[in-house]
Each structure stands twice: as C-alpha cells, then as structure tokens.
C-alpha cells in the first residue's frame, strides 16, 4: 500500500465519514479503504465489504482440533486405532476401548477450542498481512488517535476530480490530501 497513489480525505467525525462513503458509493466511486481509530459501526456495510470467510476457517480449524483430540486419546489409551500398537497402560483395570469415550470428552473439547482460537487468530494475521515488526503503512499519525480517513485511488474514480473534491468538502472533510509517489501534499479546494 505504501507505493499507491491515493486521494485522502481527513475527517474528525464518524457521521461525516459515513455519509461521504454512502454518497460516493451511490455515484459509483470505488473506495480504496477507510482508516479509523476505532471500529465504526456499519462502515463495512456502507463500503460494501463482503462478510469475511474467516468463520469458515475457524470451523475447519475447530474440526481439526476435535479430530486431533479424538485420535490422540484413542491412540494412547486403546489398541483400536487401525493397526497401530501404542502399548496403552492398564490403569486400575479401567476400560481400554470405546467405553472410555466419556472421559475423553474434556480433552476433545479443549483441543477443539484451542485449535479454533489459534486457527482463526493465525488466519486473521495472515489475511490482514500482519506480522510482528511490520512497518505500518499509515497515511496520518492521527489515524489511530482521533482522525478518520477515506482513501480513494485516482485511477478508479468514475467521476471527475473536481466533483470528488466537492463531495468530500461538502460532507465535512477537514483536509484533502493527495499522495503521489509516496509524498503527501495538501490540496486546497
């Protein structure tokens, strides 16, 4: 994102940002992204972001966890897992077959949770391209404090630049900027 050319509108109010997004979308402008210091309710819907598929990933990871818990315990506690012989321990003559299923439940459950949580966590970091030590591509140091930003690619406008500037201004943008070749300049309209 660091090398993209962008037009940036700076807001100090979420309602203004929301109405800008709504108006631009109606005009058919493709919004590159918005940057906000806090999750703005319904902004994702307004921008037309599709619901994330991470939930499917979570389900798959959870199922894997359940499977590992089941296989792990059947392997260690019984001789019933295929042709494997794991030399299970006879503990006080307690069942060493499927009859011990009830006592396997807690560990199956815990591993399901563990895999779901870490699975979705890791998938989230991959999908959002986040990793420790990554240099953040921020447009304004205040975008994580109290400023809300809208970014539009000049190539995907669909309306004239003047019209865009007009809309941003009308909807209460406190500043307009353009980033070209990594340099940001304030545009006076």
């Amino acid at each position: 994102m660091l090398d993209k050319n962008l037009i940036v509108g700076v807001y100090d109010n979420e309602d203004n940002l929301m109405s800008t997004v709504g108006r631009l979308r109606k005009k058919g402008v493709e919004i590159f992204d918005c940057f906000t210091p806090y999750p703005v309710h319904n902004l994702d819907k307004e921008m037309g972001i599709k619901r994330s598929n991470l939930t499917v990933g979570a389900f798959i990871c959870g199922s894997l966890g359940f499977l590992s818990g089941t296989l792990l315990q059947f392997y260690m506690m019984t001789n019933h897992l295929g042709t494997f012989k794991s030399w299970p321990m006879n503990i006080g003559g307690k069942p060493m077959d499927y009859l011990m299923l009830p006592s396997m439940m807690p560990v199956m459950f815990e591993l399901t949770i563990l895999f779901t949580a870490f699975g979705i966590g890791i998938l989230f970091f991959i999908r959002s391209r986040m990793i420790h030590g990554k240099i953040a591509a921020i447009l304004d140091p205040r975008q994580t404090q109290d400023r809300l930003l809208i970014a539009i690619e000049p190539g995907h406008l669909g309306i004239s630049r003047d019209e865009l500037n007009q809309i941003l201004k009308e909807e209460g943008a406190i500043e307009l900027r353009e980033r070209k070749d990594g340099e940001q300049v304030v545009i006076n309209v």
Partner: protein, 448 residues
C-alpha cells in the same frame, strides 16, 4: 447515535476521542508516580519471597510443606483453585458480556483480562511444584513412553485440568493481545522516543486501522468470545471434577461444576473490584471506570454470591437427606468440627456479606466496595480451604484422621504469588493502556 435516556453515560466528563488517547496513554508516556514505585517495590519484595520459598521447596522437597498423608492437598491446591477462580472474571467480562452486548464491559475488560492471565500464571505454580520434581514438569504432557514418563492417563481429571488450564491460558493471552493491537498502534503513533516507537511498532504488527481489517477483527473477536465462553465454563467445571469425580465425602457431589463456576466468577469479580477501585483513582480514570461500572460489578458479586450461598445450603441439605452417614458426618463436621471457624468465615463472607449490595448506597460507595471486595476474596479463599482440608482431614478410617496447618514455606509461596500477580499488574499499568481505547472511542457521546 441512539441514546437511552434511562441509562447513564458510560463515559463521564464530556470526553472527546482525543481526550481518551491523552488520558489513557498518560501513564505510559510519563514517568511513573512515587506511588507506583512504592507499590511495585513492595510487590517485587513479595515476588522475591516466592522465589526463596520455591527454591527451598525444590531443594528440600515437599517435606517443607505442612501437607501429610491424609491431607495431601493443603494450601497448595486451595491456592491453585483460588487463583484459577480469580481469572474467570476477566473472561466473563470480555467474552460473555461481549456476547450479551453489555457495553459497560469496555472500560474494564482490558485490566480484567490481564488479571486472568496473571492469575492463571500464579495458579500454575502450585500443582507444578506440588509434583515435587518440578524439572519433570513436562511429564503430564502426552509424550511417548520413551520420554521417561509413561503415557498419560486420560481417565484422570487431573490430566483434563492440564489441558483445560493450558488452553485457557493460551486462548486468554491471544484474546487479550488481539484486543491490545489497535491500542499498541495508537501508542506507537504517539511515541516520541525511539525505543517506544520500535517496541510498540514491533508489537502493533503493522496495524493501520483499515476498515477491512476492522471488519475481520470484529469477526475474530466475536468468534473468540464465542469459544471463550464455553471454555471458561469448562475450565472451572474441570477444576471441580478434580474433586467431584473422587469418592471423598464432601467432594463427591454433582452440584460441584455450576457451584464452582459461580464461585469463580464471584471471587474473580471480588479481585477485579479490589484492583479497579484503587487503579481508577491512582491512574485518574474515574471518568472511564465510573461508579456505574462499580455498581454493575457489585450486582454480579451479589448474584454469584447468592448462587454459591444457595449451593452451600443445598449441599448441606442433600448430605443430610441422602442418608449416607459419611456425607452427613462430613458436612456436620465442617460446620461444628475442628475447622468450624473456616466454615463460618466462608459462610459469613460469601453468603451474608454480599447481601449488603441490595442497598444502593453500598453499591455506589467506592471505599465500601473496596472493603467488601476484600471480604469476598477472603471468603472465597476459605471456601476452597474448607472444601479441601475439612473433607480430607476426616478419612473413612479414624486411624488416619489428622490435622493440617501450613508451614512458613507454604505461606511464603502464597504471599509470593500475590507478589507475582501485583508485580505483573504494576508493569501492565505502566507499559500498556489499561483501558481499551479503541472500544471507548466507539462509545463516547460527544465528538470533536
């Protein structure tokens, strides 16, 4: 924005979103106060006491403890259950209240989750050192026979506990860290020193507040809350299985899982109140953690306190009604035997004391809430002591009846874990934002 007129604002003092960053980052960006140094030093001394006591236990063995053949779980499992219970409030606040869309959780979830993590760390110390040879602490892991230990026994609730507690710790840590990322990014972008820019930048993972990332972030938070909720219920259920699956009179009851979970939340909220009543005034956060928040928490304390109270009365009644002499004796012995003082401390602190919260004055007076929270902490510690020690000290065989009192080493370890807990909390309050800034920003009514 929709404002319900019957509810008071969650943030007072007409804060703007700029004020939130300024107020909450202040302890991180300034030198700590004298009070912080004082508190940290005291906690650190206690941490040192833990180090010495644990070193002595490792060097000399479990003989340095007061546990004996009859009461093999004395202070040590009491403290283990006590600390695990403390942790539950954090997950209740951050996960269950998120699912119930309770917005008052936002001001306190960060610090409560931090407490969860520190409390579970304290808890883990006890069973680990009770094993006697702490350097073989990896033996409860499911390792093949060739590693020295034999296969672990999945029929044992103690092993379930290993899985439950370690899952609980790691998932809580992940949930906590995920919640911290946007706030770490805020600190990074405000940073004026190189070191702060580097370290907060490192842990912020390149967070830029993009709407797409926020969208996914909210999905992940919801899923994590969804899995943490059954997880937190399962953790104390499994802790209660350590007792309930045995055949010891006083332990062998089906009421244990719900009773333990309610007790855990009760004691956890006690500890959250103890810390937050102090922290909100020391860190000048009274506009964020308002009396409203304290009041909401005291209501939870009253509810869960009454639930454990009901459980005490139920188990006592059922024991008499069951017709099993051993059960009948176990409960009569708790109330009138040599440990009667522990039983009645528990009853007073957990069943009677929280009933004062029926009165509005009690729910809205911080100094009084602080005192009551200490009472709750004491009461819940005694609950575990009563369950463990009084049930064990009268065996089926009168020849093995015994008494238990802790040694200085055990006292040292327990006070030491307090030191560990508070040391971690002081460091947390210095280096990380104690209130979730990004969530608070989404609920302030007045904007710039």
């Amino acid at each position: 924005m929709y404002e319900a007129s019957i509810r008071k604002p969650l943030v007072t003092g007409n804060k703007t979103i700029t004020d939130i960053s300024d107020d909450i980052c202040r302890p991180i960006e300034n030198k700590p106060t004298k009070l912080w140094y004082l508190g940290f030093t005291i906690s650190f001394i206690f941490l040192g006491i833990m180090g010495v006591s644990l070193a002595w236990t490792t060097w000399e063995g479990i003989g340095t403890w007061g546990v004996n053949k009859t009461i093999m779980w004395g202070w040590d499992i009491t403290n283990f259950v006590f600390w695990v219970g403390i942790g539950h409030a954090g997950t209740l606040i951050s996960a269950i209240l998120l699912l119930f869309r309770q917005k008052w959780r936002m001001a306190i979830n960060r610090s409560a989750e931090a407490m969860t993590i520190f409390a579970v760390m304290c808890a883990a110390i006890f069973p680990l050192f009770h094993m006697g040879r702490v350097w073989l602490g990896y033996w409860p892991l499911p390792l093949p026979n060739a590693f020295g230990s034999l296969w672990v026994n999945f029929n044992s609730p103690l092993l379930w506990d290993v899985f439950a507690i370690s899952t609980y710790f790691s998932v809580s840590l992940l949930f906590w860290y995920l919640g911290l990322i946007p706030d770490i990014a805020t600190v990074r972008d405000r940073a004026t020193t190189k070191a702060r820019k580097f370290w907060y930048g490192f842990f912020a993972m390149g967070w830029d507040g993009s709407a797409r990332t926020w969208h996914r972030y909210e999905v992940v938070s919801l899923i994590l809350a969804g899995v943490s909720t059954p997880l937190v219920l399962s953790v104390h259920t499994i802790v209660s299985f350590d007792f309930a699956t045995s055949v010891i009179p006083g332990w062998h009851t089906t009421i244990f899982p719900p009773y333990f979970v309610a007790g855990a939340i009760f004691s956890g909220f006690g500890m959250v109140l103890t810390l937050l009543v102090i922290a909100r005034s020391v860190l000048k956060l009274t506009d964020y953690i308002t009396v409203e928040h304290l009041e909401a928490m005291t209501k939870v304390v009253m509810l869960t306190g009454s639930m454990v109270g009901l459980a005490y009365l139920t188990e006592f009644f059922i024991a008499q009604y069951s017709g099993v002499e051993y059960e009948q004796y176990a409960f009569l012995n708790r109330a009138t035997g040599p440990y009667w003082w522990a039983y009645w401390t528990m009853m007073t602190c957990n069943l009677l004391a929280p009933q004062v919260f029926w009165f509005k004055w009690a729910r809205t007076t911080p100094w009084f809430i602080f005192i009551m929270s200490i009472v709750v902490n004491i009461g819940m510690w005694f609950e575990r002591f009563v369950i463990i020690v009084t049930s064990l000290h009268r065996d089926y065989l009168p020849s093995s009846w015994a008494m238990y009192s802790p040694t200085i080493t055990e006292v040292g370890i327990f006070l030491g874990t307090m030191g560990l807990f508070f040391t971690c909390f002081f460091l947390f309050s210095k280096y990380l934002p104690v209130v979730n800034m990004s969530e608070m920003k989404s609920i302030v009514k007045s904007r710039e």
